[in-house]
Symmetry: C2
Subunit: 196 residues, 2 copies
């Protein structure tokens, strides 16, 4: 568009000048002027080609720049999401590794304390146990609700099915092993008995 | 450089043509040609200005593009380092939270097992304890060496100093509380007695 306008303007100017100006140059100069004029037209054509090339180059750089900037923004967003997820589930590996010890802990404490010494030991162990569970809770670990809940394949793993008219259909009626979630992610489903 | 060469060429061409060509145009046309020539020179000047502008623009885009690309690369490198560090020390918070429970665990187990029941309980608890320590080790947790080591303020916290000729100078002779490292990072220094 800019080029077209320039050409139109030029044509108009030439016509105006043709009607208002008179001859002032000698014949010998005419030839040189004409040649120079042709030369200048050549040069102008080259200049206009160069302008077109450069304008294309500018356009290419502009596109490339936008693309790189868009890539950069996408990368930043993805990194932010990755970092959030990594932060959210950061302790998952250690927690998973700890679960069998927590199971053993609970099993070992299911002992009848008869003498004072065993009672004292059990009390101490109960304090340790609650401290560990508290540390896990602080990290976002939750025990999955099971007994009395509707069976949910996302949270519960059915290892036994019974038909018991005392309970509603599809309800978890017993838990064999505790399940754990880390925030919204199930680390280990609860192993349960379900009523059909 | 390209511009200079073009100008030189043009001048040479003009001189050649001045000597080989003759007058072929009428006087009335001369005036118009001269004006058109001026017009074209104006246009050429404008075109050259535009070329200069565009070349500057291309240069600016080129610089901008290099800058954005360099920023992008730096960002990627920083993110990689951040992610490595986040991954390396991911469980630090949970580990720190667990240390007092581990202390209590060790304290509670320092009991004389007399009857069989207490012995069984202690054996079960020892298994749980070793399971937890194993899980911590898998995450990169190490117990800091203390007794018999040279005192190191990076690893040990001196809570007591004695002068005992039986031991070498600056040696840790007793530990009051275990210290822990997570990989190369001290989570809690070892609390010790040092020989002056």
């Amino acid at each position: 568009m800019a080029n077209e306008n320039t050409i139109k303007e030029e044509v108009t100017n030439q016509e105006e000048m043709n009607t208002t100006q008179d001859t002032t140059m000698e014949s010998t100069e005419t030839s040189n002027e004409t040649i120079v004029n042709n030369e200048e037209q050549d040069e102008l054509t080259k200049a206009n080609e160069k302008i077109a090339d450069l304008e294309q180059k500018v356009q290419e750089y502009e596109n490339k720049l936008y693309r790189v900037q868009a890539d950069f923004e996408n990368y930043k967003r993805r990194v932010r999401l990755d970092q959030e997820a990594a932060q959210k589930y950061r302790a998952q590996s250690l927690i998973s590794d700890m679960l069998s010890s927590i199971d053993n802990f609970e099993r070992a404490m299911k002992i009848d304390a008869e003498d004072e010494k065993t009672k004292t030991l059990l009390q101490g162990m109960d304090m340790v146990y609650r401290g560990l569970i508290e540390a896990l809770k602080n990290e976002g670990v939750e025990i999955i609700d099971a007994v009395g809940q509707q069976f949910d394949p996302q949270l519960h793993q059915a290892v036994m099915q019974v038909e018991d008219s005392e309970y509603e259909s599809g309800v978890v009626i017993e838990q064999f092993q505790k399940g754990y979630k880390l925030k919204d992610r199930v680390i280990r489903p609860s192993m349960v008995k379900v009523n059909q």
